[in-house]
């Protein structure tokens, strides 16, 4: 993997020593800043004894943070999956005033620091905020509740759902829909049978990427949530709390659980994309 052609004779060391310097910089950097830190986490987890790992990983507080984190992230990414499809559709197929502006601000969650997002969301969704004030008479509280976690996760994961679907929709030819249409298919049938299937891999990829991002999110959630165990405490915040108490074993185990989930999500994304390429190339 280290050097270009898989030539048989010179041997690995020879290849490493004679690799172009761009290669050497790349690997040096990856080893120092990526592999070494990852190894530190994995090895630390391995030094703990299995019973201890199990006890920490299944501690009631830890379990409740997985529930809040994964369930809320899943709901947020599914909401974004629907909203992202509609937004992509509107941006690709319709002309209306303000379209370019909307298209440009979709990426805002990538550009706006999460601390700013958390701060401003917690203000406007608080009971005396612009939006929270409207919801309060209905008994709906957003800031400092699990609903607040949901709003923050929707915010930070939104661009994934739009930006994965948009290019696929752009490349889709309207002729197919027109054909389905002229043969008497209803709008709903056309949508379900003709438009949706080729979009599905992109939609699922967007949902999986958004889920992965939402699960790992810390900055915006820690500010908008109350961070109360069994209510709205998420796993990344629990890691930080454990570290503040110098509980390195606790932080490591929960961190490893999160890392494994992220890597699984990554694997799922790659599988979806590989399948999508095979079917709709």
């Amino acid at each position: 993997m280290t050097s270009s052609p898989p030539s048989s004779s010179p041997g690995l060391w020879h290849q490493i020593l004679h690799a172009p310097w761009t290669w050497r910089v790349t690997w040096f950097y990856l080893i120092l800043f990526l592999f070494l830190p990852m190894a530190a986490l994995v090895l630390k987890a391995l030094t703990l004894n299995p019973a201890e790992i199990w006890r920490i990983a299944t501690d009631p507080v830890a379990i409740s943070t997985y529930n809040v984190t994964f369930f809320t992230a899943l709901v947020a990414s599914i909401i974004n999956g629907f909203a992202g499809l509609i937004i992509a559709w509107v941006l690709v197929r319709y002309e209306f005033p303000g379209k370019r502006f909307l298209d440009a601000i979709i990426d805002l969650p990538f550009a706006l620091p999460t601390a700013v997002a958390g701060l401003t969301l917690s203000t406007i969704y608080s009971t005396n905020g612009w939006i929270g004030g409207f919801l309060e008479p209905f008994g709906i509280k957003v800031s400092f509740t699990r609903l607040g976690v949901l709003v923050a996760m929707i915010f930070i994961a939104l661009p994934f759902s739009v930006r994965t679907v948009q290019p696929v929709l752009q490349d889709m030819e309207p002729e197919m829909e027109e054909a389905a249409w002229s043969m008497g298919a209803s709008q709903w049938q056309t949508f379900r049978r003709v438009i949706l299937p080729p979009l599905m891999p992109a939609i699922l990829t967007g949902v999986a990427m958004g889920f992965s991002r939402a699960v790992g999110e810390y900055g915006s959630v820690v500010i908008i949530a109350g961070n109360i165990p069994f209510q709205d405490l998420i796993a990344p915040v629990l890691i930080v709390q454990r570290l503040e108490q110098f509980d390195y074993a606790g932080a490591t185990v929960i961190g490893t659980v999160l890392l494994l989930i992220s890597l699984s999500a990554l694997l799922v994304i790659n599988l979806i994309q590989a399948r999508g390429r095979r079917f709709y190339g």
């Binding site: 993997m1 052609p5 898989p6 172009p20 761009t22 290669w23 910089v25 790349t26 950097y29 800043f33 990526l34 070494l36 830190p37 990852m38 530190a40 986490l41 509609i86 937004i87 559709w89 197929r93 601000i105 979709i106 990426d107 805002l108 990538f110 550009a111 706006l112 620091p113 601390a115 700013v116 701060l119 401003t120 203000t123 612009w130 709003v151 929707i154 915010f155 939104l158 661009p159 994934f160 930006r163 948009q166 829909e177 027109e178 249409w181 002229s182 990427m209 790992g216 810390y218 900055g219 820690v222 500010i223 990344p236 890691i239 390195y248 932080a251 961190g255 999500a265 990554l266 790659n270």
Partner: protein, 290 residues
């Protein structure tokens, strides 16, 4: 699509009622998009500017005489000034090593470079603490030599490097692939050195993608919160970056200070989006998800 139904004589029979339904559906969906983005993106962003100027310009400027605020600004700028050049060198090297080449494990290597995007920033920070913290692998060694990485600038920089590592490689790689190798080969044939080829041929063909990658790296490096929280120790006036300053001010109900800092970072975000917009229009950079 409403137009296309007019061009379809076959569908013309039902086109009038269907066209009307389309107009309805179209405006309903457009209204939904404005509503959704309004609640999630627009109103919150607008709120940053409104809150920051709540007490007018004097209120805003008051924060600028806050020593801790100025320290946070300084630390954020220093962090970005170290992180961005280092990641630029890495990103260019990685992209040059990968572009227009085919070897086993190439897509695996691309996935590895992308890894930091999938790892929670908090976990990234935790990794660095386990490596360089006083109870970490290198803790005793660093301690003996009086070097501080965790709870100090090097830790903050390493966390920012980790989080923003993939951006530049990711933007530059497709541009290099599109440019191909013909021109570089021609330059080499004509006797140009590697450096000359890079400066005169390769760099001009990727400059817009590189600029976009730089902007994204910078925005993320200045705004990183989760990873920096873990490694910095959040020591007021010492290891507190702007995002950490915002959290602290917010917790202490110092809304003006929090929103002044938020305003700076929001302006950074707006500049980032404007540059992206201009680059996409002018230089044909593809928008993609990260």
């Amino acid at each position: 699509m409403a137009d296309s139904s007019l061009q379809q004589p076959v569908a013309a029979a039902g086109s009038k009622s269907q066209g009307a339904a389309f107009q309805w559906g179209k405006w309903l969906l457009v209204a939904f998009v404005f509503g959704f983005l309004g609640l999630i993106l627009l109103v919150p962003t607008l709120n940053v500017f409104v809150q920051a100027f709540k007490a007018g310009l004097p209120g805003l400027l008051e924060t600028f005489s806050n020593k801790f605020f100025l320290n946070a600004v300084r630390l954020t700028l220093i962090t970005a000034a170290i992180t961005v050049p280092l990641n630029t060198v890495f990103g260019l090297c990685a992209a040059l090593s990968l572009a227009n080449k085919n070897f086993p494990g190439r897509s695996l290597l691309i996935s590895i470079i992308d890894l930091p995007f999938s790892i929670s920033p908090v976990v990234a920070g935790l990794m660095l603490v386990l490596l360089f913290g006083n109870r970490g692998w290198f803790g005793p060694l660093l301690d003996a030599n009086g070097i501080k990485i965790i709870f100090a600038l090097p830790g903050i920089v390493m966390a920012s490097i980790f989080i923003t590592m993939p951006f530049i490689a990711r933007e530059v790689l497709p541009a290099l692939e599109e440019a191909g190798t013909q021109q570089e080969e021609a330059a080499a044939t004509l006797g140009a050195s590697q450096w000359q080829t890079f400066w005169r041929v390769t760099l001009p063909s990727i400059k817009w993608s590189l600029l976009y990658g730089l902007i994204l790296t910078n925005a993320r490096a200045m705004g990183e919160f989760g990873a920096v929280t873990v490694v910095s120790g959040n020591i007021v006036g010492k290891t507190q970056t702007l995002p950490l300053f915002i959290e602290e001010a917010h917790i202490q109900y110092n809304s003006q200070a929090a929103y002044t800092a938020a305003l700076l970072l929001a302006c950074l975000a707006v500049v980032t989006l404007v540059v992206k917009f201009v680059l996409e229009r002018g230089a044909g950079i593809q928008s993609k998800s990260h």
